[in-house]
């Protein structure tokens, strides 16, 4: 398998002086193309911090980051934006949907920035909402949706561009177990059929069971990487 993401010695320091806090203290991390990784660890151990850096939404304090061989740490802001636009789908822990904007428009937005036509946006947006089971809620704004529904809109928005890699920060955090299973089956399917690489943060071992690799975090470092031979196969 070819390497998609390779980070070495990643550190992230927040604040300065006495308030300084080291959220990441030298993380080494690899994502192979086609891999499905579950990142687990205690709250505050730096999982979201690392995901933000992997998603090119934030920059590390020190350390190297290769994305498909490119040295991302040397990219300009706009270059990182173009990388996100082209290759990365990101699901925030806090959803981050645009307020007062319908579910469909939220999902269409990445396509708009890609310059897709109106018809293509509508088609793509509806298809993505269909996948997460929200086609009937297309016209609702985030304020009119439950937490779980908002989370699914956020997943649809991350998948709509058919990215190379999906970075999902607790994508099932607000879902009941039935919905969680549906989403996990969707992701596993995209991973196994479509070759989508996935890095997913989760606290639940049930969800992590869908992944091929489990990365355990503790206090800003990777504690262990477990390769799982027996992951759940959704192909019937």
């Amino acid at each position: 398998m070819t390497s998609l993401i390779k980070v070495r010695g990643l550190t992230k320091v927040f604040g300065a002086g006495p308030n300084q806090f080291k959220a990441l203290r030298g993380v080494d991390f690899d994502v192979d193309s086609g891999d499905f990784i579950a990142v687990m660890g205690a709250s505050g151990s730096g999982k979201s911090t690392m995901m933000n850096i992997l998603g090119c939404l934030d920059v590390p304090t020190t350390g190297g980051y290769r994305f498909m061989g490119h040295a991302v740490e040397r990219f300009t802001q706009d270059q990182r934006a173009l990388l996100r636009r082209r290759y990365i789908g990101f699901v925030f822990q806090g959803f981050n949907l645009l307020a007062r904007t319908s579910a469909l428009e939220n999902v269409e937005l990445p396509l708009l920035y890609r310059g897709e036509s109106r018809a293509a946006r509508h088609r793509g947006g509806m298809a993505a909402l269909e996948r997460v089971g929200l086609a009937a809620w297309a016209d609702h704004t985030p304020a009119e949706l439950s937490g779980g529904q908002q989370q699914r809109v956020a997943i649809a928005r991350a998948l709509v561009t058919e990215p190379q890699v999906l970075l999902a920060d607790e994508p099932t955090g607000n879902l009941d177990s039935e919905r969680s299973v549906e989403i996990m089956e969707l992701l596993t399917n995209l991973n196994q059929e479509g070759g989508l690489s996935i890095v997913m943060v989760t606290h639940e071992p049930d969800m992590a069971a869908y992944a091929r690799t489990i990365v355990r975090f503790k206090d800003g470092v990777v504690l262990a990487v477990e390769r799982r031979e027996e992951c759940i196969d959704v192909r019937h």
Partner: protein
């Protein structure tokens, strides 16, 4: 890219109707108040200038005594026809000199009577005062020389005594004389200063002297100055001529006064210009207040908008796209506000000018200035907070509090 940003900008405006409305409102109020006030000020200035010029420009009015009404004690010496002749022959640059007497009298026609001013003067009076005839004719030389009992009446007098009937050729009674009406003055309307030119009966000077006043005194002398001469200089010349004729020694105060209509017109225009500037200043303050209103809304919405910018950047917008969107939003709101402000001020100026009876003087220069100023504020305060937000990492923008 422009199309995308335009689309997004218009969507955002529609989504946040209240925010958009308040932003626009600041601009509407600012633009409308400045433009309306300056336009009305211009109208007022124009109106005063019209009134002054209807008085007859470059006209000197010479009266005995100092000032109006002051001069208690002894009554000042009046003028006589020799004074008039002296002015006419010795002062250069004079177009016409019109001696004048005036008394109050009741004019009677059949059962109607009307109390009015009776002026005795020459045909020069009409020239000097810019009065024209609506009907009939001026005095003939023979009538002037012989002091015939003829008169020319103002519109107010005509209307009160004759209503809709023809007045020309009829005879009025003034005290114990009867005089035939040979002409009617064109209506001048409200707007003169001092006496109302529509409410008077004019007769030959000689007739008034002999048959109404019973003396040879001239009460006022009107002098119309040639266009190219300076009325101020002629004022001085007449003043020294009259001092000499009235045997005033140096150091003694003038016992007559010369009123220069040009001075009045200059003073009044100066005053109304000051008024316009004052109104403009008040309006400029409201423009600034409107600007601060826009600024407030923009700054208050910065947190929300910074998060919005964070989301847009996170899902793959580049900075230029986000900024273009915000710029278009700001320009659209500012120009809509500016345009509505202009329409409102145009309507307000029309209605108020019409209501108050001022000439309509919409000031397009100020309109353009106010429009661009408010647009500038809108753009500055819409664009620069966005520019700052867009230079953040998406995560920083999303965390903004």
């Amino acid at each position: 890219m422009f199309g995308t940003s335009l689309l997004l900008a218009l969507k955002e405006i529609r989504r946040h109707k209240m925010r958009s409305f308040l932003t626009t409102l600041g601009i509407i109020i600012g633009v409308a108040s400045v433009v309306t006030m300056v336009s009305l000020g211009n109208g007022a200035t124009q109106s005063v200038q019209d009134q002054v010029s209807s008085l007859g420009t470059n006209m000197l009015t010479i009266r005995p005594g100092q000032g109006f009404g002051r001069g208690g004690g002894s009554r000042p010496t009046l003028f006589d026809l020799d004074d008039v002749e002296a002015i006419r022959t010795q002062i250069a640059g004079i177009r016409v000199v019109a001696p004048q007497t005036s008394t109050q009298s009741t004019a009677i026609f059949e059962a109607q009577n009307w109390s009015t001013t009776v002026a005795g003067t020459t045909n020069e009076y009409f020239q000097a005062s810019n009065l024209e005839l609506a009907d009939g004719r001026l005095f003939s030389d023979a009538e002037l020389a012989a002091g015939k009992s003829v008169c020319i009446i103002g519109e107010t007098v005509r209307a009160n005594l004759f209503r809709n009937t023809d007045a020309i050729g009829k005879s009025l009674r003034l005290r114990d004389i009867s005089c035939r009406i040979i002409g009617i003055l064109a209506k001048r309307g409200q707007g003169g200063f001092g006496q109302n030119a529509d409410d008077q009966v004019v007769m030959p000077l000689k007739t008034a002297m002999r048959r109404l006043n019973g003396n040879q005194d001239v009460q006022t002398i009107q002098v119309a100055v040639e266009q190219q001469f300076d009325s101020g200089a002629i004022d001085d010349e007449i003043s020294s001529l009259l001092r000499e004729r009235r045997h005033l020694r140096p150091g003694m105060e003038d016992d007559f006064s010369i009123f220069d209509s040009k001075q009045l017109s200059d003073t009044l225009s100066g005053t109304t210009e000051t008024l316009t500037m004052f109104l403009g200043a008040v309006a400029a303050v409201s423009l600034v207040v409107g600007g601060i209103g826009i600024m407030n809304i923009m700054l208050v919405s910065v947190t929300e908008r910074t998060r919005e910018i964070g989301i847009r950047l996170a899902i793959g917008a580049v900075r230029r796209e986000v900024l273009m969107q915000f710029l278009i939003e700001a320009i659209t709101l500012s120009s809509i506000g500016g345009f509505i402000g202009l329409v409102v001020s145009f309507a307000a100026t029309t209605v108020i000018s019409f209501g108050v009876g001022l000439p309509f003087m919409f000031d397009f220069g100020i309109a353009a200035l106010a429009f661009f100023f408010s647009a500038l504020i809108g753009i500055l305060f819409g664009y620069f907070p966005a520019k700052r937000a867009a230079s953040l990492n998406p995560i920083e923008a999303l965390r903004h509090e």
